[in-house]
Assembly symmetry: C2
Homo-oligomer: 534 residues x 2
């Protein structure tokens, strides 16, 4: 693999220069030649997006990328838009070959960790089975397997300084498949949940504890996933009077966020699968936690339900129920344990006030970014650009709840930002929360690579809603997003591009569109090869 | 008034005997003459109710009351069904003239109480205004009036041993009108709410404290009403997995229950009005309670909202919001203060288990009523029949939350049962909870007077849904009940009559249909006179 990369290095360098010529230099020359009034050439055939009121806003979808046609392979048939997207040269710029220090984990270290886990589990099961037999508790026992080829192991081993996974890693679709169907051997509260134990005073917790219904599920091969059950129907919108911090967590938002992140080529969201979980067979009967067992009950309609631990007895209106046992949910792959891959959690500089009336400085000071730019770690490197990437991602999903972000300590300040916990996105399709874009609109900076992909996704032949719809097809839960939510993505993408355009008009492209600091190398890839990624 | 009653006594005694002849004796003779198979004479024109599956159940709507036609004044025009109902002889049997001991309150006692309240209020306002001025709190001050003709005073003075109000008391429609429109001078938590203060541990409270959003409002003339805000849209049904004890409280159920109780001629529910309350001007700006002021906030959609005190900060998803200030709610007239008219709260013998899995004895023992019949106070007098009346009322509204009932201590064991707190009715129109009828179906007893009215309301010309629809018209909140809920009343009424019929078939009419113990007297009334009641 690594040798092959070196062999194609010379060829791909040429490809990069060609891409740069097409995407950056040529459009610039043309726009200089044609004057700045030339933004609205796209006819109604090219853009089916709703026009934004009476405002004569420029249609930016083909701005600077209007000349991509020549470089895009356009099959005559109506084939896979997603396949074509991933085959596009922009999605085939590869990071440099990874040295050991650029990988999060070493194989030996992880295998050792896995072996220890399995033997601890076997000891525990032996003791537990004896104790359970004595107390007459029936627990379903599943065989666990030690599988050195497990997809979750490969996912963990593939995490690098640049992203959570590489574009063509077949372990990712395999992991999604495993989470969709593999036998669950145990269920428990998450560590977050356990940390709340006995401290359920809701005045001390910003997020309503009633919403903490997430559980940790362990699969037969020791893959671990966080299960978030369905709380909201697809056609329901978040009530307009809800604050973002009391909004429901949506399992479908978790699933959609993983797909969107992959389509944006960020690869900063761990794999998420949809699954119809049997809450009786796959949670109640396999948990060894008495507290968890105690929150299960049978509803008046004879469905199996459970509710958050600290709301015992009187808060069953918070409960989630199977029908009678099956319940939709999202399963998000766990990252490597903090004990082998520590992460640091950092407050988002554009954090919101988690109170009714509070306003954070960024909400009232239009020059807030100037201060941030002076401050470590945002005063050098890619960190601020990464924050802006994150704000674009969150704006597209309309997730207002990004109070912290995490990075792997191993990679230091230049590590990528993890986009964890996306369940509060996709709450209202009818509204675009412009304040989420504040990092972009206030700092007026964006990575060139990000912008190019956004422009690509604004074009009819790669339209974001179309590739998202295609990407979300095929899982067990259908549809993941309702049509209005898919179409909102296109509308919001236009607004991102318009925000960039306003910055460019004000400050010029050189100031706004920033060269990525990553030294990249490219390896051309065929659409066929890419199929494996999905 | 009292002299006039005596004068018409002789005439009305004749009317009673005629009624008895028509309703009881004649039908009995006819049914004997025609055999017991004669239950299904009503053609499809008479009954538009859905036929119940393939079961050949007798249509009981005209059973024993099939001969009422002759006594019913049937105007040629399509006029008011409700007016005709209230003009019917069955609704014109008057209780005997009331002696002082048969009234709940004496006028002097109540006026003295009222005067004390007003002067205490004036003292309080003087001190409060000074304190508020010092702390810079702005409170809207309304003039209060001492009005010896206030409708709420008349309502309180009219409460007797037999009912909360008499059929023709003009104070009742006036009180409803006052509650709909009179200026609110203060708002506060209810005593229940205050009792919860600092004891919001939800493991200790059966009803979820988040639902305690009711407030006490005081009107300009010192009328006091309990405000329950809207929590649920008219077309929403209670989720099937909710236990009855965590169901929402519905303001429209409170309003509808008052009307139904009046139509059933029980008159055991205090008057309830619908009102669009301005939560800013009529609650926030007039409360003197800092705790209440503290739970108000402005929602992201700029609506004024408030939430239950003990859920501060994290439970805003429980909040109710105006639009931006106006919020639908029910206003239930307060009963006289416990200090001048004490009441006793008694567990319902058919109480439900307020746990997930518990079963009460009545749910498993079909002979439960035999035990109850032996026990004081159900072993004599009307108490058990009153419980059965209550169960019929609750079955019609589908209220499963009747854990206690109250009676005025002054009237001892023969006092009528108060049907307070009806907000958990009308949750599901598509389901009839037969277990609510257990007192009727297990004891197989019903007051003759109750049965006669139920039979009347099952007839097309007085159809319960029609008279309810008419009764609910005209208030400020429209519709109070959706059509499916109105139609459910007819369906449930059929089920009540069918339950009686099963008992009669098993035990005979003499065992089942019990003569009321109230010595009655009648005073014929015209429909015109009755109009005033509405």
């Amino acid at each position: 693999m690594m040798r092959r990369d070196r062999l194609v290095l010379a060829a791909t360098l040429t490809a990069i220069f060609t891409a740069d010529l097409y995407f950056i230099l040529l459009p610039k020359l043309r726009s200089v030649g044609q004057g700045s009034g030339h933004f609205c050439q796209c006819g109604p055939n090219n853009l089916t997006l709703p026009r934004h009121g009476g405002l004569a806003t420029p249609q930016l979808s083909n701005w600077t990328s209007g000349q991509l046609d020549g470089t895009t392979p356009e099959p005559a048939d109506g084939g896979s838009k997603l396949g074509r997207l991933f085959a596009h040269p922009l999605y085939n710029i590869q990071p440099p070959v990874l040295g050991p220090e650029e990988r999060l984990l070493q194989a030996e270290q992880l295998m050792e960790y896995y072996r220890r886990k399995v033997s601890r589990w076997e000891r525990h099961m032996k003791l537990y089975s004896e104790a359970a037999a004595m107390s007459n508790i029936s627990v379903t026992e599943h065989e666990v397997t030690f599988d050195p080829d497990a997809s979750w192991l490969k996912f963990h081993l593939g995490i690098s300084r640049f992203a959570l996974y590489s574009r063509d890693d077949p372990a990712i679709p395999q992991l999604v498949k495993d989470m969709q169907s593999m036998a669950v051997v145990s269920a428990d509260y998450t560590q977050d949940e356990k940390a709340l134990k006995g401290a359920c005073d809701c005045t001390q917790v910003v997020k309503p504890s009633g919403h903490h219904l997430k559980l940790a599920l362990k699969m037969q091969n020791f893959a671990k996933a966080m299960f978030k059950p369905m709380r909201q129907q697809r056609d329901e919108e978040t009530p307009e009077d809800f604050f973002y911090f009391v909004d429901f967590q949506r399992h479908n938002a978790e699933i959609a966020a993983f797909h969107l992140d992959r389509i944006l080529d960020f690869r900063r969201v761990p794999p998420v699968a949809g699954r119809l979980v049997n809450v009786t067979g796959e949670v109640l009967q396999v948990t060894h936690n008495e507290d968890l067992r105690a929150v299960f009950f049978t509803s008046p309609a004879n469905n199996t339900c459970f509710f958050a631990k600290c709301l015992y007895v009187c808060k069953t209106e918070y409960a989630v129920c199977g029908g009678p046992d099956l319940l939709e949910g999202s399963l998000s792959a766990y990252l490597p344990s903090l004990s082998i891959a520590p992460r640091i959690s950092i407050p988002n500089p554009w954090i919101r006030s988690y109170t009714f009336t509070g306003r954070e400085e960024w909400e009232v000071n239009p020059f807030y970014c100037d201060n941030i730019k002076q401050l470590y770690p945002y005063n050098s490197g890619n960190r601020l650009l990464n924050i802006i990437d994150m704000s674009i991602f969150d704006f597209l999903t309309s997730n207002m709840d990004r109070h912290h972000y995490e990075i792997f300590t191993k990679f230091g300040d230049e590590g990528f930002l993890l986009h964890l916990d996306n369940a509060r996105g996709f709450g209202k399709h009818s509204q675009d929360e412009m304040s989420i874009l504040a990092p972009l609109s206030q700092c007026c900076m964006i990575k060139r690579s990000t912008l190019l992909r956004l422009q690509l996704l604004a074009r009819p032949e790669f339209r974001l809603s179309d590739v998202m719809r295609e990407s979300l097809e095929g899982g067990p839960l259908q549809p993941v997003l309702s049509e209005p939510h898919l179409l909102a993505l296109d509308r919001r993408l236009q607004k991102v591009l318009r925000a960039v355009h306003r910055c460019v008009r004000r400050l010029g492209e050189d100031e706004v569109i920033t060269k990525d600091f990553v030294k990249s190398t490219a390896r051309p890839q065929t659409a066929t090869e890419m199929k494996r990624v999905r």
